[in-house]
Symmetry: C2
Subunit: 466 residues, 2 copies
């Protein structure tokens, strides 16, 4: 009848409880069915009567079954809301444990942030103020495009720090880059069928546009960013670029190159998707103006995020649409609601208007600059001429190109793994795979200075000079 497992960590009576409960809920045991007596079931399963008693007791106390004196236990009629969550949740958590956090000691994953850096106290203060100031806001749907107040703060920030010129009416608050791109994919589908992307480049945009049946056209990346000649000769009318910090190579697009990209777009209603994701994290020299700032009226869709400097767990990013697209946007999404919690929007807005956001950026820039510089010098010390560092000076990772090693990426990752060093496969950023020197992407955001130091020295031993 029931198969119980002695070796399982779950006590026997609980296993029995779960099994009976499941059958009751699934209807296999219908209302008023008589359950086998404690003695019979105990013999059948060759377990102690106490075990069976234990299970029946719990089922009884929770209303799954009821007892009739001198007659035994019966299944209750399944009544609405009568069943507490915890036991079943517990059993589920036992059956399906949450993917445990990586057992890595040195995690070079490029998407990791400094775990200590989130301004939790300030954030909690803002949040609690917001709740108190807006007692009724929980009962309403928020502005589909995002809270106007937050859009105003973002507009001002973009204008002052990125030279982006727009009105709050052009801004859409999104739940991360993917949702921003999803909106863009919807908006441009009518007249566009393929998107040019950087190769190597970020893989997420490719997935989003592929899911919308766009063709993906890989364009090689040079030292000044995406190769414009190849772009021109391609048929695509949309290009996705990361000019502030090319992902993954880290190149910063020079102004001249930005202008010719804008020229390309202006010839015949093409669109530039400018993902400015790492713009806040520039460690040497002044940041370059955004493409949008260079041609505010142009066909440039600007994408920014709070995931890199503030928190990826918040899932708040934004989209700046050209005025020309606003009407289409409003028509297409007029029935939609905002996808971001009103209270986190208001909390962020408060956080910004109190100046915390600006201060936080400055703080993070200092913290990450130190990590960046440490990583660079460690690589130079431990690898010397064996490694070339590509795209230093910004963002949360650098790329290391290993000269004359015979190791494959897989081998390197496998070796590193043995020493609890986690490497992110660079190959996922490539579309065309031609033979290339081995490159690794080293994210430093989530690591301490000591971990960077040790991690790099382990790596240098993992891939010795041939």
């Amino acid at each position: 009848m029931f198969i119980l497992n002695n070796s399982e960590s779950v006590p026997l009576y609980k296993q029995l409880y779960n099994k009976i409960r499941e059958r009751i809920l699934s209807g296999q045991l219908s209302a008023d069915t008589r359950l086998p007596s404690v003695r019979v079931l105990a013999n059948e399963l060759s377990i102690s009567r106490n075990t069976v008693e234990g299970a029946y007791q719990e089922l009884c106390s929770e209303g799954y079954i009821y007892s009739r004196s001198k007659s035994g236990y019966y299944v209750s009629a399944h009544c609405h809301d009568s069943i507490p969550f915890s036991p079943n949740l517990a059993s589920y958590l036992q059956k399906h444990p949450q993917e445990s956090p990586s057992g890595y000691k040195y995690d070079f994953h490029p998407a990791r942030l400094d775990p200590e850096s989130f301004p939790a106290v300030l954030w909690r203060k803002c949040f609690n103020r917001i709740i108190l100031e807006n007692p009724h806001a929980y009962s309403v749907y928020s502005d589909p495009q995002g809270e106007h107040e937050l859009r105003c703060n973002i507009q001002s920030y973009l204008e002052s720090s990125r030279g982006v010129l727009c009105q709050p009416e052009q801004i859409v608050i999104c739940a991360g880059l993917q949702q921003g791109l999803d909106i863009v994919a919807h908006l441009l589908k009518k007249n566009h069928s393929s998107v040019a992307v950087e190769d190597p480049g970020y893989h997420l945009p490719r997935s989003v546009f592929r899911n919308h049946a766009y063709g993906i056209v890989p364009i090689p990346v040079r030292h000044n960013g995406i190769d414009i000649e190849t772009l021109k000769s391609s048929q695509s009318t949309i290009v996705y670029v990361t000019p502030s910090h090319q992902l993954p190579l880290g190149y910063v697009m020079p102004v001249a190159h930005r202008l010719s990209l804008i020229e390309w777009a202006e010839a015949g209603g093409k669109y530039i998707l400018e993902d400015d994701y790492d713009s806040e994290l520039r460690y040497h020299g002044k940041p370059f103006p955004s493409l949008q700032g260079l041609r505010p009226g142009g066909n440039i869709i600007y994408l920014g995020t709070f995931s890199k400097v503030l928190s990826p767990a918040l899932r708040i990013s934004y989209l700046v649409l050209p005025k020309a697209l606003i009407t289409d946007y409003k028509n297409m999404f007029k029935d939609y609601f905002s996808t971001i919690s009103l209270f986190e929007q208001l909390t962020l807005s408060k956080f910004m208007s109190l100046g915390h956001w600006e201060r936080h950026i400055r703080r993070m820039r200092t913290i990450y600059k130190k990590k960046h510089d440490t990583l660079v010098s460690c690589i130079e010390t431990h690898f010397g001429s064996r490694a070339e560092i590509i795209g230093r000076g910004a963002g949360l990772h650098v790329v290391v190109q290993l000269q004359k090693t015979k190791m494959s990426e897989a081998e390197l990752i496998g070796q590193a793994d043995k020493y609890r060093v986690r490497l992110f496969p660079f190959s996922v950023t490539r579309i065309l795979d031609e033979p290339r020197p081995l490159q690794i992407m080293l994210g430093f955001g989530g690591m301490s200075l000591a971990e960077i130091e040790q991690g790099v020295s382990i790596l240098s031993r993992v891939c010795p000079p041939d």
Copy 2:
């Protein structure tokens, strides 16, 4: 040079400030350009010198311009991060005031919730505990499908209260119905091209599927829900239904009808999208089992939300996918991130596992039952035989069909408007518009008992017997 507007609510010096500031930021006034003297500009614009002084002073204090003694004012070099947000935000808020909350005294909008009912104190407690317990979680991306712990709580809740049988692995946490449907639209696009919807019915799903280039097939609604014969004769292989409380008519689909709908789906890989949005709010009699619960293995995609009973501002809903679709889902969205704040997911999970969610549902059911019953009796008192109440007994609205009135919907809404009564146009729920008796949707969620009483009596006078 500058056009200022005396009638505008923005003071003149502020208007001037904004105009100059914009030109500086847009680069029209480059660094070290000398600004016209106070006297000259005052004459030019025929405004007082104090006004010009005021604008220059503010620009100076904020670092946009600087003054040289005896020489005048000059434009500063535009330096990164140097410009505070507030002035510009303020001016924007003046120029584009946030859509002010409806001036209505009696707001019958069906999407409104009880403004007092959100358990803010409990929620804040859970939230603050979560932040303290997970100091580092702000630096990580959360599980793309949603936090496992939250999915376990939802699974248990659905099983115990809705008879939905699934595993947490089948649940996807979404930012509201529209995102859930968006995922479904993506998943089914490959093999399906049109969606059958209830007419009258909820307009949002139509927009979502239309945006994915699906055909929309309207199917009439009978007293037992969507008309299955018409559905069968239609070519669509997907149907979107609201069986717990048909939106807008409020009918509850009887079990027999549910079974034949399931039969329809099982013949040839068709899909039922079961939007169970109002299932928690049933005031008389026991709730019906969900379609998914009737055929857990079937082609039923179950959609539920926290927007109706807890808060629409949180933007948290969920999707239960049939096991058969999980692989497609994982392939299609493997590169995506969750769109919902990790902390609100964990807060909700904590809220549920402490039993607050169950208690909250019971509390809301009591509150809304009172409002529902009051509304119904008021309608009966004030309209008598002139009105028929359709779909009472569940949800947050009822539909009133006005017998023999010559008024059009527009006239009625316009008339009500004059008395600060807000009505939601029923017509937006219709696709085919055949001549029908005038119907109005009266949402009671956001209104007090007194407001319901007064609102209905005003309405009865607004549309008098002919």
